[in-house]
């Protein structure tokens, strides 16, 4: 048995969701960590796409921004941003879109725009960026996010990106033909939409996590699948790959002697 943190459990679990032939539209942060871990473990030929235009990139360290030079240098090719959104995302070329959220509801609808009223916000968040169309144009959506009452809410303040709307059939009614959120991976568990209600349902719980803990960190009534399993622990290989990746990243982004004396 190996030692690992809940954050590592989340990243490893998210990385396992990716299949070897997937073409992933990757966001910065947890999605990028999970996708690159997948590429370094079971899915070496995985295709990673970042919205800055880099197609089939193989960064050796995790990018800090969506447009780090490393992404371009290791890419098969780089296209303009209009082409990325037009030919590649809208063109239906992406099998999996990875999203995070500031607020998430039980149907996988996402808010990254505002807390409070749009016109008079309590907290102005960065906004949707690519997410509104990632949510509808990718074959399916994986969400990776730390579980908390603040993030997992009964009702999100603003629907930045569509999940399953208010339930079954809503995507189809809006003319959306893709699957939407099929998997939510947190530091506590894995949830998948119930095929009947489309509500997120716990299908797998991470080792050592209790149902009470999940419920304490969820702002909606938690539902469980009939056959909840225990998430397999990270393997030594996965943990080593993840820790190496993070250490390499840490070293690369610490540029000594720069930045302090600001322009």
């Amino acid at each position: 048995m190996v030692d690992y943190t809940p954050a590592e459990m989340m990243s490893v679990t998210a990385s396992r969701a990716v299949r070897k032939d997937d073409v992933c539209f990757v966001g910065i942060g947890l999605p990028s960590e999970a996708c690159n871990l997948a590429r370094l473990t079971h899915a070496p030929d995985l295709t990673l796409i970042y919205e800055s235009g880099t197609l089939a990139t193989k960064p050796t360290v995790l990018p800090l921004s969506i447009g780090d030079g490393e992404l371009c240098e290791t890419a098969l090719t780089t296209v303009s941003v209009p082409e990325m959104f037009r030919y590649w995302l809208q063109g239906g070329r992406i099998t999996v879109g990875f999203l995070g959220a500031a607020q998430l509801d039980r149907f996988g609808n996402i808010n990254t725009t505002v807390v409070g009223d749009y016109a008079n916000p309590k907290v102005r968040l960065p906004g949707g960026g690519g997410a509104p169309e990632i949510a509808t144009s990718c074959g399916e959506i994986f969400i990776v996010m730390r579980q908390s009452r603040r993030g997992f809410v009964d009702k999100i303040d603003f629907v930045t990106s569509l999940g399953h709307g208010a339930g079954p059939g809503d995507r189809a009614r809006l003319g959306v033909t893709t699957k939407g959120p099929t998997r939510l991976m947190t530091d506590l568990c894995v949830m998948e939409p119930d095929p009947e209600t489309m509500e997120f349902t716990v299908t797998s719980i991470h080792p050592g996590v209790s149902r009470a803990e999940i419920e304490e960190n969820t702002g909606w009534t938690v539902r469980y699948a009939s056959d909840v399993t225990e998430t397999p622990e990270p393997t030594r290989t996965e943990l080593d790959a993840l820790r190496d990746l993070k250490a390499r990243t840490e070293r690369a982004h610490r540029v000594p002697g720069k930045g302090e004396a600001a322009e």
């Binding site: 371009c72 941003v81 169309e133 629907v159 540029v255």
Partner: protein, 281 residues
């Protein structure tokens, strides 16, 4: 026809109070030096357009240059929020700031339409997304062949585009390499343009496959400002100064420390100060 001038001359000739200006750069090649010049010249009432407004727009907003921001993602990448942007939206400091918010897909299409001389762009977007309810610029249109309802957005045709590139040649043709973003579209869609470059060269020999070249007759003013993208980066010249982005989070959190920073580094500085950043990391 591109004219090679100094940065203050270029910004003064191109940009007027109240203009819509697009200073583009998708993480890469963000025209920081030119943004500082706009602050020094005290421009007011600008509509700032950019997909990913980050530090330089935070500075322009905090310095009181902006009346409106048109954007699709406003944050300090990899770090967090833009405090000056947030202070303007939430508290109206230093003045009220109107926002017009889109998705990346919408803005990318809007720039494309601007470059193509079209009044609007059609795309498959905003389905089930609430932005379409709060932004009246987002409309829909029906495909005359299939009946499918699609989103549309007005083209971005700014008064002025300001961008940074790696090279200009003696004729004033411009070369961008690496992540090319929407700079070509921003320049082609705008009425006037200012391009700062790392260097002026005799020839573009040895250009790689991820390159965009703009002929000199598409650009109005070209200025050599080595390091002019700092703390953003210039592929092949210098790396992104990630520590600066983190430092900005501290400096910009507080109005006083922000103003002290602007005074010291912008108002009392100049484009020549960027040169020391133009060294390979």
């Amino acid at each position: 026809m591109s004219e090679v001038v100094t940065l203050d001359q270029a910004v003064e000739a191109a940009l007027r109070d109240g203009d819509m200006v697009a200073m583009e750069g998708f993480t890469h090649l963000i025209p920081h030096a030119a943004g500082h010049e706009v602050i020094r010249q005290g421009r007011k009432g600008l509509t700032l357009v950019r997909m990913t407004p980050d530090i330089v727009y935070d500075q322009l907003i905090g310095a009181g240059c902006a009346a409106k921001v048109v954007f699709s993602w406003g944050g300090n990448p990899g770090v967090g929020s833009l405090h000056r942007f947030r202070d303007a939206v939430q508290q109206g400091w230093p003045g009220p700031l109107e926002i017009e918010e889109h998705s990346h897909a919408a803005m990318a299409n809007a720039y494309d339409a601007g470059a193509a001389g079209l009044p609007f762009a059609v795309f498959r977007g905003y389905r089930g997304a609430e932005l379409a309810k709060v932004n009246p610029a987002i409309k829909s249109i029906t495909c005359p062949y299939t009946g499918e309802e699609l989103a549309c957005v007005p083209a971005i045709a700014a008064d002025v585009a300001i961008v940074h590139a790696q090279k200009a040649n003696r004729d004033g043709d411009i070369l961008f390499e690496g992540i090319v973003g929407v700079q070509k579209e921003a320049v082609l869609g705008a009425k006037r343009s200012v391009v700062t470059v790392e260097e002026v060269v005799d020839s573009f020999e040895g250009v790689g496959p991820n390159a965009v070249i703009l002929p000199h007759w598409t650009v109005d003013y070209v200025v050599a400002v080595p390091g002019g993208a700092h703390p953003s980066y210039a592929h092949g010249y210098y790396a992104r100064d990630n520590a600066f982005y983190k430092m900005w989070d501290e400096v910009s959190r507080d109005r006083d420390s922000f103003q002290a920073w602007i005074k010291q580094y912008v108002l009392e500085g100049g484009p020549q100060d960027f040169a020391r950043h133009a060294v390979a990391a």
